[in-house]
C-alpha cells in the first residue's frame, strides 16, 4: 500500500494511505483552514437515540404530563434514561416525537421541555377523538447539564396508546456540534 507519512514536530505522525484497489481517486482538501472530519469525529459519531412507550399512560386534565418512554431501541452514547435525554456532547440536537392518545376532549399541546421547563410547543389541537401528535425541534444542549423531556398538555383526562414501538416514541441525534 502506497502511503505518505508526515512526522509531528515533537512526536507522532499522520499517514495518508491509498487503498489497494483498482482505480484512481482524488482526495481534494478544502481551500480553508480547519480540521478534516473522520469516521471517528464527533460530528459523525455523535449521540443518537430512539425510545418508545410500552404501556398506556393516564394523562390528567389541564396539566402538562410528562410522557414516559420505558424502552430504549438504541442509545449510542448512553444518554437516555428515565424518559430524559441528557447528551454528554455539546451541540444542536434534532428531536422528533410522536404521541398517540385519546379520546381527547379539548385542547392538547405536544411540548418539548428543556431543563424542566417549557421550551417549545409543537402540535396543538382541539378535538374529541383519538389522535396522534407529532413534533420536531432543534435544541441546543451544553453537553453536561442540559436535558430534554417530552410533555403533553391535555385539556381533559385521557390516556396514551402505547401497545408497541410504533405508537408513542421519541428519537434524537446530534445534528451539529457546538
Amino acid at each position: 500500500m502506497a502511503q505518505i507519512s508526515i512526522a509531528g514536530d515533537t512526536s507522532g505522525a499522520i499517514t495518508i494511505a491509498a487503498p489497494s484497489v483498482a482505480g484512481t481517486n482524488t482526495l481534494t482538501l478544502p481551500a480553508a483552514t480547519g480540521t478534516v472530519l473522520t469516521s471517528a469525529s464527533t460530528q459523525v459519531t455523535g449521540p443518537a437515540f430512539s425510545a418508545y412507550s410500552n404501556s398506556n399512560q393516564s394523562l390528567t386534565a389541564s396539566a402538562f404530563n410528562k410522557i414516559l418512554f420505558q424502552v430504549s431501541e438504541f442509545d449510542t452514547n448512553s444518554n437516555f434514561a428515565s424518559s430524559k435525554f441528557t447528551p454528554t456532547v455539546a451541540g444542536y440536537y434534532l428531536i422528533n416525537t410522536r404521541l398517540a392518545a385519546g379520546p381527547f376532549n379539548g385542547e392538547c399541546v405536544l411540548t418539548f421541555y428543556k431543563n424542566g421547563a417549557i421550551y417549545k410547543y409543537s402540535q396543538d389541537i382541539s378535538l374529541s377523538t383519538n389522535y396522534s401528535l407529532h413534533g420536531s425541534a432543534l435544541i441546543y444542549c451544553n453537553g453536561s447539564t442540559d436535558y430534554i423531556e417530552i410533555y403533553v398538555y391535555a385539556g381533559s383526562a385521557t390516556t396514551t396508546a402505547s401497545s408497541n414501538s410504533a405508537y408513542t416514541w421519541v428519537q434524537g441525534y446530534l445534528a451539529r456540534s457546538a
Binding site: 402538562f64 404530563n65 385542547e107 417549557i118 410533555y151
Partner: protein, 55 residues
C-alpha cells in the same frame, strides 16, 4: 385531580386559564407518582391557593 380542586375553589376559573395559549396557570405532572402540582401561578386577580386550601 388538582384541576377540579382549583375549579371548586375558584369557580371563576375556566379552561382558558390553564391553556398553553394565553393561560396564566401551569399545572404539571412529572409522571413520578407524586401527582399534579402548580408549576406557575400568574393569575392577575386570584391568589395562588395554599396547600391547606387544596387539601
Amino acid at each position: 385531580m388538582l384541576y377540579e380542586k382549583l375549579i371548586k375553589l375558584y369557580p371563576s376559573l375556566t379552561p382558558q386559564d390553564f391553556s398553553p395559549n394565553g393561560g396564566t396557570i401551569i399545572l404539571q405532572n412529572d409522571s413520578d407518582g407524586k401527582g399534579d402540582y402548580i408549576k406557575e401561578w400568574e393569575h392577575s386577580t386570584l391568589a395562588k391557593p395554599t396547600d391547606e386550601e387544596l387539601a
